[in-house]
């Protein structure tokens, strides 16, 4: 689920915000569809919504594997998929969370803390020779943070994959794909 520096703004990736029924097996249906049709998922985040009947998947898809339109239409055929919106990167707010355990002995500890503070992140756990930091931000910001943390020595790193919502000013530019006719 880790991302590379080429993600954002790259035309190969699209963000789909998919509202699904909160029922057993729904994620498996989505994953099975992508696998069966040979579509690549770049990242996937699942979360409950304010309505307990639904969950929201934020899927970053690799459109080199198939045309976006075809991916969306096949996805929309899943009975448990309620609504699909395509979030154009320039019209979306995206956030991702990064947790990293980094080697940090002596003066390095302060350097790591200073670095993550620049990214509005924080040190959330401290050991004798390691610290764990949390950074929230855009995928590109996290790419930078990751690059800058690497020289200290990354012991473990976990990223969540992005979640996204449309920018308020751009809401009208959202494409309610599910209701779109050919």
């Amino acid at each position: 689920m880790s991302t590379s520096a080429t993600v954002h703004g790259g035309s190969r990736h699209h963000i789909l915000s998919v509202l699904v029924e909160n029922k057993a097996g729904v994620l498996a249906r989505v994953a099975s569809l992508f696998s069966r049709r040979g579509y690549n998922i770049f990242s996937l985040a699942v979360a409950p919504t304010d309505d307990e009947r639904f969950s929201r998947l934020t899927i970053v898809v690799d459109v080199e594997s198939a045309p976006l339109e075809q991916i969306i239409r096949q996805l929309d055929k899943l009975v448990n998929v309620v609504q699909i919106s395509e979030l154009a990167p320039e019209a979306a707010i995206e956030r991702e969370l990064l947790l990293a355990t980094v080697r940090a002995e002596g003066p390095a500890r302060v350097e790591v803390a200073t670095l993550v503070a620049i990214f509005q992140g924080s040190v959330i756990d401290v050991g004798p020779d390691q610290v764990t930091v949390a950074v929230t931000g855009t995928p590109e910001a996290l790419d930078s943070a990751e690059d800058l943390l690497r020289p200290f020595g990354i012991v473990e790193l976990q990223r969540t994959g992005r979640v996204a919502l449309p920018r308020l000013g751009a809401r009208r530019r959202l494409t309610p794909v599910a209701d779109r006719s050919a």
Binding site: A28, Q70, D76
Partner: protein
């Protein structure tokens, strides 16, 4: 009213108007078989669960109503995986009810436990695991709704044993009670797109209506005939659409594609407009996509939005039920001045459309130069095409013909002259060998008033022949013509043509099994035919038998091949027509 889950399930099937269920009981589905004894629903006890699935498909294909099959958990459920996949590929409304181990045992590797909803996720339109008996009526109603609406398809309802044993209050949901927030059906076609499609039709010099199985599913044959009258365009009917438009109409060019008629395939190649109606640009139709119908604009009508542009870009894509869309297209043509006699009202756009005369003249010339052909010599080896043609001549015009997959299927599609929809049942997209016998059984249950002939291959027959025991036991008098060439003939054909006659594992033997003895052991009347002279009298004898199944073992020429043929992956411009007349079949 308080019922058990099993009783609620059977009552729900009754509410859905189910008249017959094909199935085979077992441990996990036991509770559901008990209330079946008291139900008006007929149960046909198959000998293998695959047979239940294909029988339900055959029933659905001839009646237009959903076919229903019931199986137990584990191997019972996995045995019906092939029919589910078959129904998915050919958009057949099929409802499978499977037993499941009790909810408390799910996940423990219990006896006959398998996660059938996971297994069938990609080969059903949708499936359900019911964990609360109170959900059963609603889920059954949802299952039938999903199976039969939009693009039809198979669904599976998995019912754990404790759910069918538990007690629940009976209710029957209204349409509003269905919990399907993500399931939408296409609305009426957009008038602007319909108008654009009509204009393209009126502007075309070489139009072809590319008719697929969706036309039959949508009961749109009548509408199609009107569209042909109004537009004057010729029709090709794909394997799934045989019978959607009558073969004896001069505007019908037959089946296109890999083993289609030369004229149907070439007409698409030369067309300047393809109007795809409920067809999906399958690789067996298009050949190499990059060179398929290179000069054609495309109007694509399909009830499934995902089909538009999946294989071939559509200039006009219309997401709608085929019947609704074709009727709208007809109205648009009339508004533009077309009349049902193929003329045009003066001063309208239709009056200035290109003359289709040259196109029809060209098609007629092609038809004359490139007919389907074979040669049956007296005393020579029995030709399978001759058997199919004779069978067609001697059987009632509304006979239902059912096939398996392979050479016999292609000959049946080529040489049977179809007059009406729902008289042809075959396994198209899936290519399921062994489909014919159980599907014929199901078709005969659905249309007991019709003669039902299965045209089968010897390889296919051996896969599911045991369902003739079912047919005898249940008094379902189907007829089976085995085109016995002692080979897995289509594979043999490919090995002959593309693997330098290196025959690998395709020989089956004409005598092992002895098909006549085998059929008789299963309670059928059975005959063997070895020479052309015996064909007609034996078929006549078979057609008179109506109290039990009949099997005819036709010993056909093993060297005969299916032509025309477009090799896999080749362009549809590269049609192999086979040996010239008089050269024989080898």
């Amino acid at each position: 009213m308080e019922l058990t889950g099993a009783q609620a399930l059977i009552k729900s099937l009754e509410m859905e108007g189910v008249e017959v269920v094909f199935g085979l009981p077992g441990g996990a589905i036991l509770p559901v078989y008990d209330p079946l004894l008291d139900s008006s629903i007929r149960h046909v006890l198959v000998r293998h669960e695959q047979g239940a699935g294909h029988a339900a498909e055959g029933y659905a294909q001839v009646t237009g109503r959903p076919g229903v099959a019931m199986v137990t958990s584990g191997p019972g459920a996995t045995n019906i995986v092939t029919p589910l996949m078959d129904a998915m590929m050919d958009s057949v409304p099929l409802v499978v009810v499977s037993g499941q181990v009790p909810t408390t045992a799910i996940g423990t590797d219990a006896f006959q436990e398998t996660a059938i909803t996971s297994i069938t996720m990609g080969i059903t339109k949708h499936n359900w695991l019911v964990t609360d008996p109170a959900d059963l009526p609603r889920v059954v109603a949802e299952a039938f709704h999903v199976a039969t609406s939009g693009r039809p398809g198979p669904v599976l309802v998995d019912v754990p044993k404790d759910v069918s044993n538990a007690r629940t209050s009976w209710y029957w949901p209204s349409a509003d009670d269905l919990d399907l927030p993500g399931y939408r059906l296409p609305r009426a076609p957009e008038p602007g797109l319909v108008r654009r499609a009509a204009e393209l039709l009126l502007g075309a010099e070489r139009p072809v209506l590319y008719v697929g199985g969706g036309v039959i599913k949508a009961e749109a044959s009548e509408a199609l005939r009107r569209l042909v009258d109004l537009s004057g365009a010729p029709v090709v009917t794909t394997l799934m659409a045989r019978g959607a438009f009558p073969d004896d109409d001069p505007r019908c060019l037959g089946m296109p594609g890999m083993h289609g008629t030369w004229t149907a395939t070439t007409a698409m190649q030369r067309a300047d407009l393809l109007v795809a109606l409920g067809s999906r640009f399958d690789d067996r139709v298009t050949g190499k996509v990059a060179t398929f119908a290179p000069g054609a604009k495309v109007v694509h009508v399909d009830v499934d939005p995902a089909e538009i542009g999946k294989v071939r870009r559509a200039d006009v894509g219309i997401v709608a039920d085929c019947k609704v869309a074709i009727e709208a297209l007809c109205e648009a043509l009339e508004e533009l001045g077309s009349t049902p006699e193929g003329r045009a009202r003066p001063g309208t756009p239709a009056a200035s459309r290109p003359d289709l005369g040259p196109w029809h003249a060209q098609l007629a010339k092609w038809r004359q130069a490139h007919p389907l052909r074979y040669e049956q010599t007296q005393g020579g080896p029995l030709k399978p095409q001759f058997v199919v043609e004779t069978l067609r001549e001697l059987s009632p015009p509304d006979t239902v013909v059912v096939t398996g997959v392979g050479q016999h299927q292609m000959w049946a599609s080529q040489y049977w002259r179809f007059a009406e929809p729902r008289t042809w049942v075959t396994s198209g997209g899936a290519g399921t060998m062994g489909f014919a016998v159980p599907a014929a059984l199901g078709a005969k249950v659905g249309r007991p008033d019709r003669t039902v002939w299965a045209i089968d291959g010897d390889g296919c027959f051996q896969m599911t022949a045991q369902e003739l025991v079912t047919a005898t036991a249940e008094r379902i008098p189907v007829k089976v013509a085995i085109l016995n060439n002692a080979y897995l003939g289509m594979v043999r054909q490919w090995q002959e043509l593309f693997y330098e006659e290196r025959y690998s594992e395709v020989y089956l033997s004409p005598d092992l099994p002895d098909y006549v003895q085998w059929a008789e052991a299963m309670g059928c009347r059975a005959f063997r035919v070895e020479s052309p002279e015996e064909v007609a009298p034996t078929i006549e004898k078979a057609n008179e038998i109506d109290d039990r199944p009949v099997v005819i073992d036709f010993r056909t020429d093993a060297f005969e091949k299916v032509y025309p043929m477009v090799p896999a992956g080749a362009s549809n411009d590269e049609i192999i027509e086979g040996p010239a007349q008089g050269e024989g079949g080898r």
